[in-house]
Symmetry: none
Subunit: 290 residues, 2 copies
């Protein structure tokens, strides 16, 4: 099957738009080809049933059923897909130190994500969403290793929260960016150990000004965790030198989802607008375009 996918990927450029759509879907969800009916796969891919037949023929198969066979075989023999998580990790460990490292990273990330979601109360998430939504301004701050995370939050959230202000991105000191923070504003911080001095400075400053604090951090005992009005916690445990931010990212994404879900319908039409504009301006590729 992998051979077939490689072939498909190789010929991809020379296919017609509709065949590309079909091929892309097949490559993305090969199990569906094995399990679902041709029509169902076609519907998922957004093409006509006949297009699937044409794809099969274009790939050198006499019929769609013949085309489907390799996929069914790979699902059948692919003991990997049957393996439980622990079995899989053990097997991975058998593949040398690369496999071991990969396995332990996967384990760490999954358990971090699980713990983050398990540990959080839905009310706290609600509170956080409300705090951010109702704030006058939200200042977004993350330093050192967390600047990228703060950056990510800013990018995702600014589409649904118009009152976001990035801190520390402009090159100046963070206090410059915070100069106008005030009551009714919120400082959103992202921090993990080792905690940067700049974060705690920003925290103190914002508090003194009467702003509320929202934090995502790795411990209740952290500077941000202790002083925040609303805080979410995500472990960053990792078998390697750098803390893993995957769980933090997951929390951020969930939070933004909540903000949208329980926000007014204005937000939704707004996002639709945004996407439409980006498409019209040619900033993003249309489906099938390459």
């Amino acid at each position: 099957m992998q051979d077939l996918i490689d072939t498909l990927s190789g010929n991809y450029a020379s296919l017609s738009p509709q065949l590309r759509l079909a091929a892309k879907h097949v490559m993305d969800r090969p199990e569906d080809v094995a399990l679902k009916s041709m029509r169902a796969v076609a519907a998922d891919a957004g093409v006509a049933p006949s297009t699937m037949v044409r794809l099969a023929q274009a790939s050198g198969f006499k019929s769609y059923d013949a085309f489907r066979e390799p996929f069914q075989d790979s699902v059948r023999t692919g003991g990997a897909s049957f393996a439980s998580r622990t079995e899989w990790l053990v097997q991975l460990a058998g593949e040398g130190d690369t496999g071991q490292l990969t396995g332990s990273m996967a384990e760490a990330v999954i358990s971090n994500v699980e713990n983050a979601f398990r540990g959080v109360e839905t009310e706290t998430l609600e509170e956080a969403a409300q705090l951010l939504r109702n704030a006058n301004r939200v200042y977004v701050a993350g330093f050192g290793g967390m600047s990228a995370v703060a950056n990510y939050f800013y990018f995702v959230a600014h589409m649904v929260l118009p009152h976001l202000v990035p801190v520390g991105a402009s090159g100046g000191t963070s206090i410059d960016d915070l100069a106008h923070i005030w009551q009714g504003d919120v400082l959103a911080t992202f921090s993990v150990e080792p905690y940067s001095r700049e974060t705690s400075r920003a925290l103190e400053f914002a508090k003194r000004r009467g702003a509320k604090i929202f934090a995502i951090t790795d411990s209740r005992a952290s500077p941000a965790g202790a002083s925040a009005d609303v805080a979410l916690f995500a472990s960053t445990a990792s078998p390697q030198f750098f803390p893993s931010q995957a769980a933090v990212i997951a929390l951020i994404e969930t939070l933004v989802a909540l903000i949208v879900a329980h926000g007014d319908e204005k937000i939704v039409s707004w996002m639709e607008d945004l996407e439409r504009v980006r498409a019209e301006e040619g900033l993003i590729l249309k489906r099938g375009e390459g």
Copy 2:
């Protein structure tokens, strides 16, 4: 599915002869149930088609299709399929529950991470690590929603790879930053649907210059996935409007861990230096300091 097989095995004694035949075959070849038609399975088991329906009903399922579902799920590597974005938007009108949204996000992230790690071959990870380590220069590019991810990669990796060059961060056009890319260099791209036009432009440019391409993306059929020398894939499926980047982040972290693990000892002492300096310069807080 294993639960179902256990139940089947438990009730086995109390079944009628024909149902036993059917149940035995189902337990022996569960993949066949997932892949073949009911009639085919019945024929293999040596029973009438209706017997299969009866087995399904006797197991507490309303239809044979419902009975088959657990088998298909267990065969399937790609776990839950999520409603399309538009469906999600519709669902929003019905105002979903906070807990439900949180749960489905957790499910999505975990399954994305697991699939990303399961789908990757350890050799590919090795190749990627080597490609990046041995490159003359590595240009790091991500646009739109992926700029934060690229930013994260740059931040984490630049501590272990001194020859990293950010693209598009300086405010100018990305091509400006790529101007000096050449053979022996590598373009590292991060992209998910909807693919930005800028990414494919950068890809073309780098290829023309003879540079190698490394990509983390969400599909083999994506512009980056198709043209990359080494590519890693991570699903970004999510029950909400924005794709989830958590799995991409997890892959990035693993890759960096590999680069460190198999790099020369210079890298390690280098990182130690870096941390020492940051501590000494008072950029980060000592333990207990707040």
